[in-house]
């Protein structure tokens, strides 16, 4: 079904980005425009998800050119869910950033760049065209380079350099993959590719499949391509790290899911390779996290670990596995954003995020402790948190496919995650502050009210997610069915309907 709403999650933030540049002299005007644009993006995304759930697939051909020739924007259930989650997180983190009043957040370039990032993320989820996916990635990454280095501090420049260079290498590989795909099939439209790729020889298909996993694996932080991630994310200001942690790697995972399920026939899907990579990603992520002393860096390693779980679910290539991943991604975005927002609050409270230097948060700011407890339990996967539902679904799918090795690895990693969360809890929330004392002594509300409000919103969303886990899981299951059998997607894009 056609809908004029489809391109709005890209167009609205981009247009607003231009407006915020024009109104660059007034910080207030910039903030009003940015908040308005992101709120309307949330509304549009919800409308799109409702439509997509009703009609399976909603699409729009840019400029009225039909599918293989023109650029198609497509929203199916997976894209819809990702859009709603990402736009909500972008809005909440913007509120947090406005409350933070740090150097970077007051920078005249912050709002425009942040909106471009929002447009890039939405575009990655909506596009039905491989080259457009490349452009969307570049839009998102270029914005993230700037956000990461906006402060121009030495550590930001150092880690930003690593981040930019590794992203550029991935982009170069992406263009290479595109050129080879175009040379062998004569199209870059995803639905059209899905019809033409089965005609290629199996070896060429395997090559493409692996090349695309490599390209998106770098963006997603998959083992052994994750090394840049814990290095660069922690140096950005709090809200920026939160949005990077919540969204950017997940866009990579989304691209892996989309390309693997849509483009490649079952016999050239890299199930075993993905399972091995997923397992190693989990192990490396959690072991890396255990060795860290800095809170943000520790949590960055956990991002890597979580990616492993998603890739494990995808690697099963069963309906149950893919549905579980869809559910898991949504809850991880919530949890990760939440944890990094709390880390930002702690950083602000003490002026450092070293676990060995902070302590006693339970007494000095009990609300931060509450906000940390909910996502931390989720990350470790203890019932009744949303993480438990996600991990249970994943493990259930793993047992169903009798992949015992990866299931046991996932269980052990969960246990280690719990250990690492208790380490944070004991160090930061109990314990005594050794050398750093709370900056704003006597203030027990945990920080500026907008920051606390935004963090509270993510916590509320996590709790709501547990309460409505049933309906969300059913939606994820329908999305999983779509992905396992993409004929509806292909017909909708190519059928011109």
């Amino acid at each position: 079904m056609n809908s004029a709403l489809v391109p709005l999650p890209i167009v609205v933030p981009l247009f607003a980005a231009a407006l915020t540049v024009i109104f660059g002299r007034s910080l207030l005007a910039q903030r009003v425009i940015a908040l308005g644009a992101l709120s309307s993006t949330v509304a549009v995304s919800v409308a799109l998800l409702v439509q997509a759930d009703r009609d399976d697939v909603v699409k729009m051909d840019a400029g009225g050119w039909a599918a293989p020739l023109g650029i198609t924007y497509v929203v199916d259930r997976l894209s819809g869910m990702m859009l709603v989650t990402s736009s909500l997180m972008l809005l909440i983190v913007l509120i947090y950033a406005i409350g933070q009043r740090g150097v970077e957040d007051r920078h005249v370039g912050f709002e425009p760049i942040y909106l471009v990032l929002a447009a890039g993320v939405s575009a990655s989820f909506i596009t039905g065209d491989m080259f457009n996916l490349f452009v969307a990635f570049e839009m998102m990454l270029a914005a993230s380079y700037v956000l990461l280095t906006l402060g121009g501090r030495r550590d930001q420049i150092r880690s930003g350099m690593t981040y930019v260079v590794i992203s550029l290498v991935a982009s170069a590989l992406f263009i290479t993959a595109l050129a080879l795909l175009y040379a062998s099939t004569g199209t870059v439209n995803m639905a059209d590719l899905a019809e033409r790729i089965p005609a290629l020889s199996p070896n060429v298909r395997t090559g493409f499949s692996l090349l695309l996993i490599l390209v998106f694996g770098i963006k997603a932080g998959l083992f052994p391509l994750f090394f840049w991630l814990p290095d660069s994310y922690p140096t950005a200001p709090g809200p920026v790290t939160a949005i990077f942690a919540g969204l950017l790697t997940k866009v990579g995972v989304y691209a892996i899911i989309r390309t693997q399920t849509l483009l490649f026939p079952p016999e050239s899907q890299q199930g075993t390779a993905l399972l091995i990579m997923g397992g190693l990603t989990m192990v490396v992520g959690v072991l890396g996290a255990l060795a860290q002393d800095d809170l943000k860096r520790l949590l960055s390693f956990h991002i890597v670990g979580q990616i492993g779980y998603m890739i494990f679910g995808l690697g099963l290539f069963t309906v149950a596995g893919i549905s579980a991943v869809v559910f898991y991604i949504v809850q991880t975005i919530l949890v990760k954003t939440n944890l990094f927002l709390v880390a930002g609050l702690i950083d602000r409270h003490f002026g450092t995020s070293r676990i060995s230097r902070v302590g006693g948060v339970v007494r000095s700011a009990p609300i931060i402790a509450c906000f940390f407890a909910v996502p931390a339990l989720s990350l470790a996967g203890l019932p009744p948190s949303s993480g438990f539902a996600g991990k249970f679904a994943l493990l259930d799918a793993g047992v169903e496919s009798t992949q015992w090795v990866i299931v046991s690895v996932a269980l052990v990693v969960s246990l280690l995650t719990l250990f690492s969360m208790t380490k944070i809890w004991a160090g930061v929330f109990w314990g005594d502050a050794e050398s750093a004392t709370a900056r704003d002594e006597g203030r027990t509300n945990g920080g500026p009210s907008l920051m606390v409000l935004a963090t509270g919103l993510t916590v509320a969303l996590s709790i709501a997610f547990v309460v409505f886990a049933g309906p969300v899981y059913e939606l994820a299951e329908r999305a999983g069915n779509d992905l396992a059998d993409p004929t509806a997607y292909i017909d909708a894009v190519l059928g011109g309907g």
């Binding site: 270029a142 420049i157 930019v164 260079v165 550029l168 290095d231 860290q292 002393d293």
Partner: protein
């Protein structure tokens, strides 16, 4: 023609990769640009051989060269251009801060290495680091 282009792309990729692995930022940036050129040549080649300009009414559509890869390459060139400009700005900022264009080591990595040696006293290590914030010796493994 096509073999020549493929060879050129391969050479650009090879040189670019080699430069990318150096420790100097300027070399890394040149390496990135070379790889970018290599991918653009690959994109152009993916459209098949040359032909007459693809303008309707100029001739038989069967003789047209494929316009799509050219459009894609143009987009890719613009993006590479923008990002290279940003990289240069970052390299300049890095030079302003450190007066050197060598990639600096990661503090946290060195902290962890140091922690193995001096297991208990993190504070000493940090004090030592503040003395030499950029270690350009270049032998530390990352």
């Amino acid at each position: 023609m096509s073999v020549m282009l493929a060879f050129t792309a391969a050479v650009l990729f090879g040189l670019g990769t080699w430069l990318l692995l150096q420790r100097r930022l300027t070399r890394i940036i040149i390496g990135i640009s070379l790889i970018g050129h290599g991918t653009n040549i690959l994109l152009i080649t993916s459209g098949g051989g040359g032909g007459i300009p693809p303008v309707i009414g100029k001739g038989d559509p069967a003789d047209f060269s494929d316009p799509l890869p050219q459009a894609l390459a143009l987009t890719a060139i613009v993006i590479t251009f923008g990002v290279t400009a940003f990289l240069l700005a970052m390299a300049y900022r890095s030079w302003q801060l450190t007066h050197d264009d060598v990639v600096a080591d990661d503090l946290e990595d060195r902290l962890i290495t140091a922690q193995q040696r001096v297991d208990s006293d993190v504070a000493d290590v940090e004090a030592a680091e503040q003395g030499h914030p950029t270690d350009s010796a270049g032998d530390d493994e990352r």
